[in-house]
Symmetry: C2
Subunit: 465 residues, 2 copies
């Protein structure tokens, strides 16, 4: 009999409370055991995966599932490569610095009254993901490493694989719990959509929801919960060629930003061009490079006219790869080799366009004028503002975070590519010796606060267990 | 004609976009001008305040307004003291460090490809407050200092005062805008409840809502918006006397935590006592001190029996200040000289009680056993976990933040007393020289990321304008 949503959430909360007190060594012990049991049980995992693949193949044959989604289901890969990569991922997460117990502020308030701001787990996280079943292992490891309890929901195509992977991890945790204090409900899997809508009401127990999947999924979650949501629905990114854009940089940056991986959220969807560039070599070379890479351009009137009038682009004519844009193209995440093109009269107009249409994800200016780059980077309200660098760098691994929980377009908590830090918050720990607030204040005999900062170097590691 | 909610929100967003580019000097210039014009226009402000006071007096006489709320309306005070304090507050905010442009991470990704995480304004904040009209000035200054646009809504009792204060600040900003680039819509006031419910739908434009007022107000806001809310509905704090609680500390800490300011959110509402203390001097002295300070105790069976059986407390009998508790008392914020008392069998039971009933605000353990303090501080999931210190220290000024936006019981973004930092987020600024993501990866001729941390000391101030 499956548990109700509130029972699952309450169990997660109890596990989260217990996880507040685990040590770094205990977490490493659990992660090592998870890797070990996954390895021990790999044949059962492969069997479940083979069943999912068989059912998915039928769905592909019936046109109910895309070949791309089908491919992502495979957890084994040639020579077990994908499986081994997943196992290595467990160790990689374990090797990250413990994100819990880090002192981010230390201050003496009075003699013998010391205040520390110390990182702590968020508590209970719910992660909803689609396709790749190995994500369940990755997220579980990240949750454990950051001392959070996790409730996980994957795609129905991966039902059997996810069930076995979770059972195996739970078995590992149960074996761990026989040797050390460790909560057996740290990781729970739910499998039905009904569970999700009920869990989204459990704001009493669940602290953060992380949807990883389609725009539709994320938007559904955002619209149906009071729990904070970390993530992004849209990745409408852009690249702007300023009047001093360098011929040696512009075509390469635009092509990389658009074509390196068109289905990614950090792919540029809009190309903005300063009007002074129309007819220039920077313009024609950039457009030509996009055409050569198979990109279809949806153009405003000025850019369409300029392309048609360019002798260097005379081999391209309106039709196939060159079409007039509709207004909604400038708010669209194409996830394809399509790019909206707009001409602007000034840097300020470019900034205004980006702030009006884009999704606060990642936007790039290509310019040789430092003052323009500075103004653009100050004024564009996005998680990533780039100067002469491809939007495709917006990624936790590329930023050196070692892992990525997701990319956030939120304006609070965590923004941009989010590493383990996004699963942490802090507590204020105050150490006194009977200090009373009534002894401080204005007037005779009252004490004053000293408010002396304690150098962080002096207290480094003080709360790492 | 008053603007619609979406017009107000859109104006705030445009102002926020412009505020992304203001310098520290420009913000100081604006704040100085605000102080100056408030001083110049003080007679008009006092006249509006006198009108509000007159109308409020009538409401008090009719029993429609409490005397406490009436007293908070006064903006002048004896010898204009309150007004001068408000003006000094403008300067105090200006004197804080600029929270924007601080580098919190710096990393070379590759030669010539440098990534910086730099603090940035959240954008548009909406602050809803009750009673004290000078809050409108304080919040406006905090918003400007942190480069945010603000939409403000105060209590209807202060309508005339708030209107004039806001007009005066807007006049000051308009004068500023004639001399330097500064958005005139940085501060807007709305006056009707209808506006609030409509503004709570403007998540497209508004980034953060900060309700400062009654539990009912905060809960209403939390239940009626998708915009992130910073604050707290309840302040159910507690103090736990562990088995080794020190006689020299316990009575004073409990009395200060309960009686120093009973209406405050950081006041302790629940007293937990380890069962081994029943009948001890620590117990009887603590209970006696609470009784002497006028506190009514709502007791579970064991504590009630222990108090009745204590020879030292024989002068107190059941009735008036000593009553049996109901279950809901342990979830209640009394905001009065009332305290719920519960006996626990162990440290673990105390932790469990706190994590079950309290509002994740501030909780204290009184103990002489470091290992118990450590376990309690690890396991209690609250913004503040205190050892031998009064819960009343949970306050931005006492923490040395210079100001307080509010106290948050959120598990994301900002927790506990929140200073100017709570109005900031960050942007990732990436500086390249035409770097393309496709050049990095596995295989022949591909580049690897260097991921070399740049010491923050080297880049301190780099983005402060």
């Amino acid at each position: 009999m499956e548990l109700s949503a509130s029972e699952i959430a309450a169990k997660a909360r109890r596990a989260a409370n217990l996880l507040q007190n685990v040590t770094s060594a205990q977490k490493s012990f659990a992660l090592a055991r998870i890797r070990q049991v996954l390895e021990e049980r790999k044949e059962a995992i492969f069997a479940a995966n083979a069943l999912d693949m068989k059912l998915a193949q039928e769905a592909v044959d019936q046109g109910k599932l895309s070949a791309a989604l089908f491919k992502r289901l495979d957890i084994k890969g040639p020579n077990e490569e994908k499986f081994q990569t997943m196992l290595q991922g467990v160790t990689d997460v374990d090797n990250l610095d413990d994100p819990i117990g880090q002192v981010t502020m230390a201050r003496e308030l009075d003699q013998g009254l010391d205040l520390y701001r110390v990182t702590a787990p968020v508590g209970v996280i719910m992660v909803i993901f689609e396709a790749r079943p190995e994500v369940v292992v990755n997220i579980s490891c990240l949750a454990i490493k950051s001392s959070n309890a996790a409730i996980l929901k994957g795609g129905k195509e991966a039902f059997h694989t996810l069930s076995v992977l979770t059972q195996v991890m739970q078995e590992a945790i149960e074996r761990v719990a026989k040797e050390i204090d460790f909560p057996t409900d740290a990781i729970q899997l739910v499998s039905t959509r009904e569970h999700i809508s009920q869990l989204l009401d459990q704001d009493r127990y669940i602290d953060l929801v992380i949807p990883r999947g389609s725009n539709q999924l994320v938007r559904y979650i955002q619209n149906n919960t009071r729990i904070p949501v970390l993530g992004h629905a849209d990745g409408v990114c852009s690249i702007y060629l300023d009047d001093s854009a360098d011929l040696a940089k512009a075509p390469g940056l635009v092509v990389d930003s658009k074509t390196n991986y068109p289905a990614a959220c950090n792919t540029a969807e809009t190309l903005l061009v300063h009007q002074s560039l129309l007819g220039s070599e920077v313009f024609s070379r950039t457009i030509e490079a996009l055409f050569e890479n198979g990109v279809t351009l949806r153009c405003d009137t000025r850019s369409l006219d300029a392309i048609k009038a360019s002798p260097a682009l005379s081999q391209y004519s309106e039709g196939n790869q060159l079409v007039a844009s509709a207004p909604e193209d400038y708010d669209s995440e194409f996830l394809d080799l399509i790019m909206a093109l707009v001409v602007v009269d000034s840097l300020e107009q470019a900034i205004d366009h980006v702030n009006t249409h884009n999704s606060k994800h990642t936007d790039c200016i290509v310019t040789e004028t430092p003052a323009h780059a500075d103004k653009y980077m100050n004024c564009v309200d996005a998680a990533g503002v780039y100067w002469n660098a491809s939007t495709r760098f917006a990624d936790g691994f590329r930023y050196g975070f070692g892992t990525e929980i997701g990319v956030s377009t939120n304006k609070t908590h965590a923004r941009g590519p989010v590493g383990l830090e996004g699963l942490t918050i802090y507590k204020y720990r105050l150490f006194g010796h009977g200090h009373k607030a009534g002894d401080f204040g204005v007037g005779a005999g009252k004490k004053q606060f000293s408010h002396r900062d304690i150098p962080l170097a002096e207290v480094k590691g003080k709360f790492i267990k």
